[in-house]
C-alpha cells in the first residue's frame, strides 16, 4: 500500500494540468486528473483522493457544481478541496469557501504557498498556514 497522499487535479487546461502534475509528483504526491466537472465527480468516487485541487471554470459542471456535489455525497464530503483559479478573488473567494472549499488560491500561485496549503490541509496538526490564503 502506498503511503503517498493522492491528489486529484481538476483543470481543463492540458498545460496547466501537466505542470501541476510534474510539480506535485516532484513533491512526492500521487496524482490523478479530471478535465471537467462531470469526470471530476466520477474520479473522486473511483479514486477517493486525499485532496482535490479544483479549477472553477470547467466544462460540464463548473467548480461550484463540483463543490456542491461533493458536499452532497456522504462518502466524498470529507475530502478537502483547494480551489485554484484564475478568477477574481474579490467575487469568488468567499463564495467558494461558503460552498465548502478548504482554501482559495489565485493563479498563478506561488509554489511554496500552494505546497504549504496542501501540507496543512492534509495534516491538520501542521502548524499554521492553511486557510491563510
Amino acid at each position: 500500500m502506498s503511503t503517498k497522499p493522492k491528489i486529484l487535479i481538476v483543470d481543463d487546461d492540458p498545460d496547466l494540468r501537466k505542470g501541476l502534475n510534474l510539480r506535485l509528483r516532484a513533491n512526492h504526491y500521487e496524482t490523478s486528473y479530471a478535465t471537467d466537472g462531470f469526470s471530476a465527480i466520477a474520479m473522486a468516487q473511483k479514486e477517493r483522493p486525499d485532496l482535490i485541487i479544483l479549477d472553477i471554470g470547467l466544462p460540464a459542471g463548473d467548480g461550484f457544481v463540483v463543490l456542491d456535489r461533493l458536499q452532497q455525497s456522504a462518502a466524498l464530503s470529507a475530502i478537502p478541496v483547494i480551489v485554484l483559479t484564475a478568477r477574481d478573488p474579490q467575487f469568488n473567494r468567499e463564495r467558494t469557501l461558503q460552498a465548502g472549499a478548504t482554501a482559495f488560491l489565485q493563479k498563478p500561485a506561488d509554489n511554496s504557498e500552494l505546497l504549504n496549503v496542501i501540507r496543512a490541509t492534509l495534516n491538520p496538526a501542521w502548524p499554521g498556514t492553511a486557510g491563510a490564503s
Binding site: 505542470g19 510539480r23 516532484a26 477574481d88 468567499e94 489565485q106 493563479k107 499554521g128 486557510g131
Partner: protein
Amino acid sequence: MSDQHPHVLLIEDNPGDADLVRLRLVESRSDVDVQCVDRLSAGLSRLSEQQPAVVLLDLNLPDSHGADTFRKVLSKAPGVPVVVLSGQDDEELALKAVHQGVQDYLVKGNFDSKQLARAMRYAMERQALITSLDMSRRQQLQFEDQFLSHVSHELRTPLTCIHQFTTIMLDGIAGELNGEQREHLETILRSSNQLRSMIGDLLEATRAESGKISIEPRCLVLGDVIQQAISMMKASAQEKRIGLEAAVDTGIPMVYADPERTLQALLNLLENAIKFTPAEGSVMVKACLVDADHDFAYISVADTGRGITPEARNLIFERLYQDPNSIDDSRKGLGLGLYITRELIRLHGGRIWVESQLGHGTAFTFTLPLFSMAKLLKPVIAVEGKLRDSISLITVELSPLHSSSMGNWDRDCPQCLQLLRSCILRDKDTVLPPFENSSGGELFLVVASTDEHGVKILEKRIREQLEHSQELKTGCVFQIATTELQLPSQHSGESIEQIVQRVAEVISEAAIAKIHRTGNSNSRARNIGNLSETKTN
C-alpha cells in the same frame, strides 16, 4: 412641464411667502399639485415617501439654516431637482447652493409666474440630463470593470503556465541546469512576476475608478502591519543593498483600518521607494502622532533616492503617471501603484501627500484614522442630540477549537461578524470591529440600544444564528454574555459628546475586562485602554 399634475414640494416656513409661491404656481398652471411643509424634517420625510417633480426650498427654516438645509435635501433625494427660494440679501448663499448641486434659485418677491415656471422647467430638464449622463458613465465603468475582469482572467491562464514551467525548470524537476540557463530562466520568472502584478494593478485601478473597492476596517495595531510590510520587502531591499528600517512611536493607539488594504498601501510605497533609491541608500518607515491632529496617525515612507520634481509632485498620484525624467533603467511599470494607494487611503478617510528634495530623497506621508470608540458609538447611543433610554452590551467570544487548529479560522471570524450584523437593527444597534485576544480568539461586541427585554430577544437571535452555522460549530467554540450598561446621567452643561465619551469608556472597560479574563494583559488590552483617551472632536 410635460407630465400630468406635476407634484411640487414646497418647503417654506413663512405662510405669506408660501401662499405667494402657491399663487404663482397656480397662475402658471392650474393642475399643479403643491404640497407645502414648514419644517425641513417634514420635507425630508415627504421626500422619502414620494419623489416630487421639483423641490422649492427656503434655506432658513426653524429646524435648519443656510447651507445645511440644501445639503440635507440633496443628500436625501439626489435625483430630484431643487430650486432655492432666496432672500434679497442671500444671493451669495443661493449661488453657493447652485455650485453644490442645486439647479437654480429665485429671489423671493422678485419673480412672476412665468419666471417661476421657467426656472422649474429648466431645473427638471437639467436634472434629467445630469441623471442620464451619470447613468451612462456608470454603465461605461461597469462595462470597463467586466471587460478587465474577463481580460485579467484570460491573461492569467497562460501566465500561470509560464510561471509553472519556469519554476519546474528552475527547481531542477526537469533536470540539471547550467549557470547560464538558470540566469535566463530567472529573467523569465522575474518578468512574469512583473506581468502578474501589473494585471492585478490594472484590475484594482478600474475598481477604484468605479468605486468598487471595499474596505473592512477594524482595530489595527499599526506597528504589526508595518513590521509585516518590512519583512515582506526585506529581500528586495537587501538585493539592492538598501537599508530598510522602521521607527514606530510607542503609545500610538490602534487605528481603524483594513489590515490587508493598509499592508497593500505600505507595500506599494515601499516598492516605489526601493525602486527609486540607488544602492547603499536607505528607506525608512515612520509612524507617529501629531500634536495638532488628534484624529489620525501619520505614517511616512522616506527614501534617499533622487527626488521628484515639483511638477511631477502634482501629477504623481494620477492614473498612468510615469516620471518622464526617469533615467532609471528599470522598467517603469503601469503607473497605477500610487493612484491605487491614494484611493485606498481615501477610502479610509485619510490623506496622502509627497514631499521631496531633488537629489536628496522623497517622503510619502499618509494618515489613517485612530480608532475611536466614541465616534463609532455616537449614532447608536444618541439620537438627535438625546441619549437613548437604555443601552446593552452583548459580548461574543469566539475561539478556535484546538483539534482543528488549521481549521478555517480566517473564514470563521468574518462569518461570525457577518452573522452578528445580520442579527442587529442597523439604526439602533452596532457591531464593533472585533478585538483579537492573545489566546488566539476574537472578541465581538454588540452595542444595542434596547431594554432588558429587547436585549434578551437579540441575544437569543444571535445564539441561534451562531449555533446554526455549520462551519462555526465545527471549527470553534463561542461564549455569549449580556450586560446592561449603567448610563451616566447627564450633568448640567455637559454636552452629548461628553456623555458619549463616557459611555465609550464604560464599553472600553468592559472589553478590557473580557480580554483580561481570557488571560491576556498584553499591549492590545492597553491599547484599548488608550482608545478612551483619544479625543473626539
